[in-house]
Symmetry: C2
Subunit: 148 residues, 2 copies
DNA sequence: AATATAATTTATAATGATTCTAAAGTAGTG
DNA sequence: CACTACTTTAGAATCATTATAAATTATATT
């Protein structure tokens, strides 16, 4: 999420998100702006579940955002390519603000996810190919646990 | 699932499963035997959901097996190491009769799974390691779609 | 072979994440 | 300001899965 400039002055984060939303054909409502700030105004990748985001909204913000809106917004962002869904268990959906191709460590005890940079994984070579099919993506999950 | 011999005579499949169940501390009920035959009496790996197994039982067998028993049995088999769960989407659980370490192709349109033999994937090398953690498993899903 | 026991099956209810619905609220346009 | 389309919202509906508790069955015991 790099910052942009307008009339020579640094834009406020809020304005960045308003523009981003508008340019995506999404009206910049206060709910969407608030969620954008929580999700994208960070240095590092953020992994979260709906539940997690709901708690963050309750804790860190004044405005009330209904669960339905959280679902709507997260799905809208996913559709626009601002979020990626990650499958780690069947109970809950998890999302990732890093939408580039990359893999994950998964702590099986805590369900905590950690990004693996592309240079951290040697290129994966699939030697078999299925006739009439093409590879769309390759996803690796490295499950880890305490080594004590 | 290799066959074994008893008193010089080839055992019936049913007997094989009765023994397998008993040796696992599971009573060989007709439901469990029936499910074992459907799942394990095959040449190839079998990938299925509970729903799929339920339909098979209705179609191919005389006895009635309740949904609850199907869930119980599949979980018992998983616990005993006879089945492996695979995460391909959040709507349903999928299981695999191939419990060895291996990866999968996933047809994103049909949710069909195809095993990748170990020799079909070049060994995956993770160059980063997390302090205090050890790798438990590495799972690769290669998503494919029609190449037309 | 009948009985006692503990395990298993079953129908049904409960759970919980997600989706749907339709009414009330809000942003953008003129 | 007024209009229209888009959004938000509370609450209901859905659907896979799990829990419950009563009936059934496998196995050990007599």
């Amino acid at each position: 999420m790099e910052n942009t400039y307008k009339l020579g002055k640094k834009m406020k984060n809020k304005d960045v998100f308003v523009e981003k939303l508008r340019s995506s054909g999404l009206r910049p409502t206060k709910q969407r702006i608030q969620i954008s700030e929580l999700l994208f105004d960070r240095k590092n990748t953020f992994h979260f579940s709906i539940d997690h985001l709901n708690n963050l909204l309750k804790k860190k913000t004044k405005i009330k955002v209904s669960l339905a809106t959280i679902y709507n917004t997260v799905h809208a962002f996913k559709k626009k390519g601002y979020l990626k869904e990650i499958l780690i268990n069947r109970e809950k959906s998890y999302f990732d603000t890093n939408t580039s191709d990359h893999h994950h460590f998964l702590n099986v005890k805590t369900n905590e996810l950690i990004d693996l940079k592309n240079e951290d994984v040697e290129k994966i070579k699939i030697k078999k190919n299925l006739p009439g099919k093409k590879i769309k993506s390759i996803e690796v999950i490295v499950k880890v646990e305490n080594s004590n």
